[in-house]
Symmetry: C2
Subunit: 161 residues, 2 copies
């Protein structure tokens, strides 16, 4: 990743898309979230969702996978160009995790992260704190997933003191 100093409010990370296939929705939900509208089409039709849809945590895990892949590809590219790679620290947490609409079987969700805030860490001067708004949008342009992620990003070692 880029250093804190090189990260600007408005920067967007386009992470790519994930298609939620019915078999995957059901396999993940049978193990982790066996509610009837996630594991059985007929039951889902009788539920308030109206159709088979993915567990909310599955929508989150799909973001995580795309973000890890995005970051690894970016790090490879930066190393290949001889650029230094900034470290990411552990996340202090997420705010405002939402699923404004269901993710139905067959839906393709496109995930984007946008830098919405940044500030220096007072207690840990080698780190900056960056907030990303994470958004997942379905093939009809409707937001289906979102949260505000706070993370630590390494500061430039060569920054003026």
């Amino acid at each position: 990743m880029k250093y804190f100093e090189d990260t600007a409010i408005g920067d967007r990370l386009e992470l790519g898309s994930h298609t939620f296939l019915a078999d995957d929705i059901k396999a993940v939900a049978r193990r982790f979230d066996p509610q009837r509208f996630h594991i059985d089409e007929a039951e889902a039709e009788r539920s308030h969702f109206g159709r088979l849809c993915a567990s909310g945590w599955h929508t989150g895990f799909a973001w995580m996978r795309l973000f890890v892949d995005y970051r690894n590809a970016l790090i490879d590219k930066m190393r290949a160009r001889g650029e230094p790679v900034a470290k990411l620290g552990p996340s202090p947490g997420y705010q405002n995790l939402k699923w404004p609409k269901p993710v139905y079987a067959g839906d393709t969700v496109t995930y984007v992260m946008e830098v919405v805030e940044k500030r220096e860490s007072k207690s840990r001067p080698e780190w900056g704190i960056v907030q990303f708004q994470v958004t997942g949008t379905n093939q009809n342009g409707e937001p289906v997933f979102g949260f505000l992620s706070t993370g630590f990003i390494e500061r430039r070692p060569d920054r003026p003191a």
Copy 2:
């Protein structure tokens, strides 16, 4: 579940425990969160975590599974006693999702939900809004997971108008 009117601030749901086995941590992470400290013991030892630990989303999914099982068992018991079962509506979202400490391979996390706030819905009079603080605590009594969950719970059909 109990109706909104029968739900009190301070009510606790003891959901039970989940043990995070190394093989499960790695299998889930290989698919959804392939960061080195979730998929390889030797790499994890070289990371800032120091040991193999579970993906944060895995910790969340384990809560989801225990909650679904708890709720289903409760509904079965209430039906067997002839008690009416209140419906739960979709969740408007989560706040303050946190992982204050890593969940290491072999750790057992015990999940509890406590009612911390309740209010009537103004726009939907057949529903009440209840906030639960969800907490996951490891075998040493250390909090490792938490969030504030907001949910709709059905109001008593026989409540005074």
